[in-house]
């Protein structure tokens, strides 16, 4: 049993806080149930379920803090973990950046839980995989996919009386379809809180179509091209940009948001004026937990508005140093789009490249947020409003900051997981001019 109700969680946490003999403590309780299924070569390779609960206690004496964890919840164990965290706090060196826990906060209601996802069982996963494998066999392609679901509870309490509780579910599915001759490959990603929105057959068909259409790709010269980026392609670049929008490195002079001569570029117009990038924990497509792991309330907030940097993220310590309100790191990010469909965007393109996804993105220069990576699993040449033919994959060297200045069209939005980091995105299809491809790859 790991999914405690709000009442049960509160009871456990109150007990833990009562055991504390330190100056104060903060306790986080998380419980998770979930499972996964993986398949390759049109056959299931691994499948599993897991269940766990963990209690993390941080005790502090002055500015000395220690953390201990436990996965047993009887009274003796709870007292033991509190004592252990206190012992470790006494051993720890003083941390001048330690911040005392917050007093009680008020949070908005959460939208992160779905009953349907909580009910996923091994049969459901096996069927989801079987549907995909069947379609692959019918079309004589080879499937490899992974479905992972989770059902989690997070609760926290501290010695100042703060209490927070949230339930969340998530399902992520990816599938790669490769033609049996190895010359075509397609891929799809889907991510939802509510599994009733997931159809692995529909997703698999998209991947199969891409695989078949990408067969026998032609090489074209690297250079600067107009690109239409599917949301799965731009997500990781935007995630990387978001993770580099912390105030502290900007103030320290080692960020793309550092100002020449000192300070940050908060308030500067760094992007095309159509760029509106914001967070909203109650967004119906990408809901996020209404509180952060340290108990701060999340709120709807602009990050970029009309191309101007409106908010950068201050942790509580850095905010105290700069005499500003802390700005917690968001749990989701939304980039405003438009009404154009992908078909409309292709129709309006004289010469360009459609990119399904990017792969192996790594920082080249943190100063300009220059990244390198490659296209993968479906890259197509567009001419006079039509997809002309598949093309060989390219390596790019590009910065999301430059990319968001070279916007031609923002289309319809799609939810996409950006591969870790705990932030989900709702992003538009984007047409970008002068995107820099620097070399060709033979990879399929």
């Amino acid at each position: 049993m790991s999914l405690y109700s709000e009442e049960e969680a509160k009871k456990i946490l109150e007990k833990v806080v009562r055991f504390s003999k330190a100056d104060g403590c903060e306790v986080n309780l998380t419980g998770a149930e979930g499972g996964n299924i993986r398949y390759a070569r049109n056959s299931v390779s691994t499948a599993g379920e897991n269940s766990d609960a963990i209690l993390v206690v941080q005790s502090y004496f002055g500015k000395k803090a220690g953390t201990a964890t436990i996965n047993e919840f009887d009274d003796a164990s709870l007292e033991k973990v509190v004592r252990r965290s206190e012992e470790l706090a006494q051993l720890a060196p003083e941390n001048p950046e330690f911040m005392e826990p917050l007093p009680p906060q008020s949070y908005g209601e959460s939208r992160t839980f779905s009953e349907a996802t909580a009910k996923i069982n091994p049969d459901f996963r096996a069927q989801a995989a079987a549907n995909s494998i069947r379609l692959a066999k019918e079309k004589e392609v080879t499937s490899a996919g992974f479905l992972e679901d989770s059902n989690t509870v997070a609760a926290m309490m501290n010695s100042k009386g703060l209490f927070a509780y949230n339930r969340a579910t998530n399902v992520t599915y990816t599938v790669t379809m490769r033609t049996n001759d190895g010359t075509g490959s397609g891929w799809v990603t889907r991510d939802f809180n509510d599994v009733s929105k997931l159809d692995t057959s529909e997703a698999s068909k998209v991947a199969i179509d891409k695989a078949l259409q990408s067969k026998n790709a032609k090489a074209i010269e690297p250079g600067k091209y107009t690109v239409i980026l599917e949301p799965a392609a731009s997500a990781e670049l935007l995630r990387n940009m978001l993770f580099n929008m912390n105030a502290r490195p900007a103030d320290e002079g080692r960020s793309f948001l550092s100002k020449k001569g000192g300070g940050t570029r908060l308030g500067d117009k760094l992007f095309d004026e159509r760029i509106n990038f914001y967070t909203d924990p109650w967004h119906k497509e990408v809901p996020a937990a209404p509180w952060t792991p340290d108990g701060q309330a999340r709120k709807k907030m602009d990050i970029i508005r009309n191309g101007v940097v409106k908010n950068i993220f201050y942790d509580r310590y850095w905010a105290s140093q700069k005499n500003v309100e802390s700005v917690p790191f968001p749990g989701n990010a939304i980039l405003d789009g438009g009404t154009a469909s992908i078909e409309d965007m292709i129709r309006d393109t004289k010469k360009g490249i459609l990119v399904t996804r990017f792969w192996y993105i790594r920082t080249v220069d943190p100063q300009t947020l220059l990244y390198t990576g490659l296209t993968r699993d479906g890259t197509f040449y567009i001419e006079n409003g039509k997809i002309k033919h598949p093309i060989k994959n390219f390596r790019f060297n590009e910065s999301p900051v430059i990319m968001l200045n070279n916007v031609e069209t923002l289309g319809r939005q799609v939810r996409v997981s950006a591969g870790g980091g705990g932030v989900n995105f709702f992003l538009p299809y984007m047409k970008i001019r002068d995107f820099t491809f620097t070399s060709l790859s033979d990879a399929v």
Partner: protein, 545 residues
Amino acid sequence: MKRRDFIYLTGLGATAAMLPGIPVMGHDIHPERALEKVDTTTKKRMADVALNAARSKGATYTDVRIGRYLNQYVITREDKVENIVNTESYGMGIRVIANGGWGFAATDKTDNDSIAKAADLAVAIAKENSRLLTEPVRLAPQKGYGEVAWKAPIEKNAFEVPIKEKVDLLLSVNDAAMKGGANFINSYLFMVNEQKYFASTDGSYIDQDVHRIWPTFFITKIDATSGKFETRNALSAPMGMGYEYLYARPQDKIQGITTLYKNRYDMLEDAKAAAGQATEKLTAKSVEPGKYDLILDPSHLWLTIHESTGHPTELDRVLGYEANFAGTSFLTLDKWESKKFNYGSKLVNIFADKTQVGSLGAVGYDDEGVKCGQWDIIKDGVLVNYQATRDQAHIVGLNASQGCCYADNWSSVQFQRMPNISLMAGKEKKSIDDLIKGVEKGIYIIGDGSFSIDQQRYNFQFGGQLYYEIKNGKIAGMLKDVAYQSNTQEFWNSCVGIADESDYRLGGSFFDGKGQPMQTSSVSHGSSTARFNGVNVINTARKLG
């Protein structure tokens, strides 16, 4: 199945992005508890309970891994300790074959009932999975070794060194860097001890004690007037060693344009040098793009070997098992079968070796009880072999596994992971200076930097830490904004010189990711300094508005 609790270390400041997601597996413990051991009699008893329970439920093969995984991480910046992490993860994973299919279950409860229940579950899963099989699992034969043990030949167990000593070392390193002109430094000590016990129905009971250590730092130097900054990371290597890696010795230093390190690392000296070099980088010449002859130091070349030789010769990638995540491989079976696929120039000999002393991948036996050894991957430039596990050996005509099975935790399913893969040193006597002497227009690259490669391992781009221009056989000054792009086969065919054995050094990856759900592993790559002709170099400088 018990879930591992991954605690990702976040909020470590600007340079955290330079590290991969650092998994800390396990529960926090008092540092002294790391020195306690579980005795082998208890582990053998637990293993026998699992082996018998699985057999009685119909398993035709069972292996059991009882693992105690200890991590200690010390994390500092400038004059502050940011975090000290001590974790332990202890439990048992049971893998079985029943009805020709694999099944796996794990438990952290060590009483007989819980073990038997986990064994039952593993058999039930195997039977369920067998219904979806296209062909039954074929295991290469493996003899039982009886009760045996292997211990990493370390001199000083890092977990015995008081935390205060480690904190003092990092803070003195930080102080030296700051006094040397650095604006910021983040420094880290990562220490791992895997206490692994393996038992199988083949009759093996194997007890192993594995140690790894990685001291590293990131330095930043800022030019306030121009608003520019430069970084320089440590030139250390993660090693399969104890704390002795940090006891510097003159015989392990290679003097040159900067000091390079063999089997011992002088962290203080490197930090001082790094502070000066980060400053020098600010005013260094921005590279002119074009073709250059590259002289690559082992502190850099290890990553190119890892990405362009290590990963594409993983047999599970070649077969398509990683198609949905890491990708497949351009080194398809037909290329191996032809026995003449020209991977590199005749000088290129690349070998797998799980026995290399001090390497990250060194163990006596892998995680399916196979005694480890060494074998050729690329011989005189030709692809001759892959990396295989017991259920893959038959695919490449082997009658025994090459011992490439690894799981990152007792609760993870073991699968094919990369052994140490290294470039053999040149046979002729040749130094770094000899290599540089022959270059008219080139760049000498030290340290690993940005890295990216496609999903079949053809096209790659690498950066480094230090770049020196070579003009007419001499170093002509520092460069910046350098990255090279090439194609694996083209690159290795452009290898025209490799320094001799006296220059041979290890580099490696402490947190190499693979699989879904992702597992990490640690692996070393050795080489001597090598020369590659006519490689395409790009300039990475950009301007933001």
